[in-house]
Amino acid sequence: MSNFADTSSSLFVRTGRESCEKFLGKFLDIRIRPFVLRVTGGCGLMGPEHAVGLRNVQHALTGGARAAKSLPRFTGFCLFGGTRMVNRTNPRIVVPGITEVVPPINRLCSGSRTLGIIAKVGDLKHSRHGIIVSDDCDRSLPLDQQYVTIAHPTQHSILLVQPSADRTASWDDEAKECIDICDHLRKGHWKGLLLVYNGGGVVEREIKAWAELGKSDPFWQVLIVKGSGRTADKFACDADFMEQHKETVHSCGNSVEEIREALLKYNALVYPPESLFRRK
């Protein structure tokens, strides 16, 4: 019988530019398809009108609300922000954000691994609700709407990056680390995709970085969910930008079906074997 230690996420801390072979070794699980999906997007600044659409992304990745066996689902390695926002006064309340889309993959997509990349943006704290990554949110919000960012409790492994024990990183460092990891995998002939839903300034810089890299290597594919708001819509509606990067930057509508179709097109989803052979 498994116990809490067996089901806990591995946590690796990388300081500066030291290598972390044990975390990279997670990609050596040959049972998992060599595909890397980087999921990024809106967190604390995302409005509720867009947060409701996160479910579309989740269902597209996991085969629908009921994880239907006939529908394709994600297989491969998924990199995401590795955190969760919880209500400051009632930590049992989870604040919706892009990082809530990925963890259900653990349970519903057996051919996948979820790997969180967390930038140490502040002094870490250990609480009974989890490791606090950031205690910083918009203080103009009413107290009962303020949130604390903790390490997400549901993921296979976490890589926490810090410049040193005393210095803090920035939220951009998460994106940079993901690009470094993806570049490492790219050299090993993997396929990859950046999936964007909503997002702010950090996501904007990440999209631009992937788009720039995509000019020289088609590995760097980007899929933007149009209609998810903020940065995603800014780029999806920028005809010049989309035309300039038409080989590697793509958009899709904000419905389960449209997202699923796009993810299939860009190789992020695979039909389960049992769905391909139907009994007469």
Partner: protein
Amino acid sequence: MLLRFGQHPEPATKKEIMSQETPSLYLPKVSVDDRGCIFSVVGSQESMPAHFVASIRRARAMELVIFGGGVKGFAAEDVAKMVPWVVGGFDGFVGVAMSGGTAYFDKATGKLLANAVTSIPPVLAHHNECVAIGTFPRVEHWAMNREHHFLHTDKYGAVLDDRYHHIAAVQQNASDVLGWQGDMEKRFSVVDALNDWRKVYVIVNGGAVTRDDEAYAALSRGMNVIVARGSKREADALVAAVESDDWTLTAAEERAKAGTDAAKIADVDAIVARCQGILAGRKDLVKIVDYGDATALNTTLKSLGFLQQTV
């Protein structure tokens, strides 16, 4: 029949193997790069290259076996046992076989030989759909053999073994050389990175580096070690230590060199004490197999969970 590059002749039958005639070619069954053996040069402070990771992912089972040791003191018939032993013992292996990435060659014919422990991964890769990878330290300035086009990696005739899938040479920098154990930290970084893989170190013969940086380093990491009884030197020393708590063979070569020098004798005693400390509580990790007994090797591997899973 002319062979295209990368094409290999049919593997030798077991009868040919058992007749102790080694095939002239040990080209691998699986292709990682159609051009041949990938060769990386890694700084001792660098991470292993991405292509090394990619090569490992070509395996079909999450099983890693590392071969360490040598053949010093072997008679011709001892050397001749090696290939049948591993071919029979590892029959059906589809994981990753790892060793030093070098081999010796016949100066008359220019053909690579299979008479060293480091030749075992290519031998396995020729007979099975497994991946052969290697690491070795740069202990000497390399030189290209002009007649046979091999890369000499030391002063003793060892050359890069292009029958591997991927070899990573570890160097300090372009000018300075490392010691014989200089690649071990890198090698074990790969070992440690292979989460959820079955791992075993196979020890044949071997001296100080094999003892300290392979056998006991593996044990200290909780790895299983299969040691070949009858293969002499530190392999037999480990067997004696495990079976009889007899430590007289451990570091015997160093002790012989120490003579009556008290300081050197103390150093040797410290080596033995260190080994005793590592082995304490870990004897169950050591599996002893008679050198040359392929059936016993095969049985031991299966008891450790090898040769059973494919992805």
